[in-house]
Every structure is written in C-alpha cells, then in structure tokens.
C-alpha cells in the first residue's frame, strides 16, 4: 500500500516534470489583427527562442498541449475554435493572448464578435497587451508552467452541448 503510494507519487512527479518542460503549442487565430500572431511567431526566432523552454509550435492539434489563441472570437471561427480544442488530447491548456482575446479589445460591440476566448472555451492564462511583447507572451507561458508545477487538475474539461454546436456533415479528421 505504502510502496504503491510512493510509486504513484514518483510517477506523478515525473509526469509533471515532463509536462512543465515540454509544452508543445498550437496557435489559432480566431479573428485577430495579426499583431499578436506575428509576436507569437517572433517568440520562436533567435532573439527570444522559446525552444530553450521546450516550447515547440506544432501544426496538428493532436500533438499539442497548449492552445495559444489570439483575437476576438468571430462568429465564423467559433466552431473551428471549439473543434480544435476538442481535437487536442488531455491534458490541455489554453493561453489567450492580446486584449481582443481577453475581452474583445478594440472590437467590442462589433456585430460579428462573440467576445473573448473564455466565452467559448476555458482559458488558463490571460496575457493582456495589444499586442503583448514577445517577452510578455513568454511570461504568460512561464506563468502557465508555474501553475502546472502545482499539479494538473484531474478532471478533464468537457464542453457542454449548448456551447458546442454539433458539427454537421463534417467528416472525421482534421480541418
């Protein structure tokens, strides 16, 4: 019993360590102005080099741990955002980058805007700025990792029926 418990504890520690050191990210622009997107891309380039923290930008949602979202959610991209979130394997985390992703920013009140990312999917870290500097985005990632260090919430988040319009007539698979 005791040994089992210790073993489980060690295993959890190893898991957490691996998770903290290897956050693979996927990036989705749900209607932003590109400002945040180019700054996210800039974090990968020599001056900021997020790879030294283990961050790797992946193309497929299946490979990713962290969904980095930018922009206010437009009506068209909402469904895609939910779909990408659903395609990611557990455990998954969401970082909302930029004023628009947090609240709609300058676009508040436009007829095609649903609001911030957290009105559609649960968000773990908010990074304000318009756009945030690449350092601030790294700061957001570091804060997410700090949260992970404390352990991951065990229960997976499932989106309810009403928040997810059932994709109709869409073939399984990506995009």
């Amino acid at each position: 019993m005791d040994i089992n418990k210790t073993w489980q504890g060690v295993l959890d520690q190893v898991k957490t360590w691996a998770r903290v050191n290897s956050p693979w990210a996927i990036h989705y622009n749900s209607g932003s102005c590109n400002g945040c997107d180019i700054e996210i891309l800039a974090t990968l380039t020599p001056r900021y080099d997020a790879e030294r923290l283990g961050v790797k930008l992946e193309g497929s949602p299946r490979h990713a741990d962290v969904l980095i979202c930018t922009g206010p959610v437009t009506r068209q991209s909402r469904e895609r955002l939910i779909r990408i979130y659903d395609q990611m394997p557990e455990p998954k985390f969401v970082i909302a980058v930029g004023a628009c992703a947090l609240s709609g920013g300058a676009f508040q009140g436009c007829y095609n805007i649903m609001g911030g990312i957290d009105e559609v999917i649960p968000v773990d870290v908010f990074v304000p700025g318009c756009p945030p500097r690449p350092e601030a985005i790294i700061d957001g990632v570091v804060k997410l990792l700090g949260q992970l260090q404390g352990g991951v919430s065990a229960e997976p988040v499932t989106l309810t029926e009403e928040s997810v319009p059932a994709p109709q007539g869409v073939k399984p698979g990506l995009a």
Binding site: P46, R47, Y48, D49, R52, L53, A99, L102, S103, G104, G105, A106, Q108, G116, D118, D124, V125, F126, V127, P128, G129, C130, P132, R133, E135, A136, I138, D139, G140, V142, K143, L144, Q147
Partner: protein
C-alpha cells in the same frame, strides 16, 4: 548559383554564440516611450471624463462621487486596454501616464485585471456599491 548560400552565417553563429535574450532569467529595460499599464494621478483631475469618452476599448471608467470635493474613482480594466495612449493625449491636466516598465501582466485569474485608483475610502464605496447592485 551556389549551394548553401548561408553557410557563412552558420559558422559565424557557431563562433559568436546565440543572440538570444535570456528573458525570464534576465530582464532588459524597455524603451522610455513604451506603453504599459496605465496609472492615474488624482491631484489635477477635474473629472471631465474625456479619457473615458475617447477610449477605443472601454477600458476606463471615471466614477464621480462628488465633483466639488474632487472625489473621483478611476476604474481601469487591463484586459480591455489596447495601450494606444489616446487617453494620455486627451487628458488636458496630465493626470494619466503609461509607464514603460510594467508589462508583465499575464495572470491566471481574470479578477486581477480590474484596477481601481483613488482614495482608499472612495474605492471602498464604489466596491461596496458594486456588491449591492450585484446582489
């Protein structure tokens, strides 16, 4: 026509070492004009509300408790702010400032984004008022 036109850069990079900033471990100073989290200075404020009117993102709210006694509370939502600096330009009394070195604003909790400036007692009144209307 040549193969591998960037080999000189590669060798140079190997010799000179990477040009990366070690950000979370070392922090460089931001330029003087950089715009980050807004601050408000009560002394000269007349409560005209121009900043509130011109803000493109609804980030500012000036709550007037008593115009004559200059009791204003300044509510600022960081998550709405686009850091454009229009409020600073609009303010005739130079009450507002966007300092350059407060940009590490990322947080896991949205509540952190609501910031109040003003006399402590006044802020408390506004907060209590919120609670009452909320309940």
């Amino acid at each position: 026509m040549k193969l591998g036109g960037m080999w000189r850069d590669a060798i140079k990079a190997l010799v000179q070492g990477p040009s990366t900033q070690k950000y979370p471990f070392e922090r460089l100073k931001t330029p003087e004009r950089f715009r980050s989290k807004l601050t408000w200075d009560l002394t000269n404020c007349t409560g005209c509300g121009l900043c509130m009117k011109d803000c493109p993102a609804n980030a500012i709210e000036v709550v007037t408790l008593d115009r004559k006694a200059k009791r204003f509370v300044f509510r600022y939502r960081v998550d709405h702010c686009t850091f454009c600096g229009q409020c600073v330009e609009s303010c005739n009394k130079n009450c507002l400032e966007l300092p350059e070195d407060d940009w590490e604003l990322a947080t896991t909790n949205r509540q952190d984004f609501e910031v109040y400036y003003g006399n402590e007692a006044d802020v408390q009144i506004v907060l209590d008022g919120e609670a009452e209307t909320g309940a």
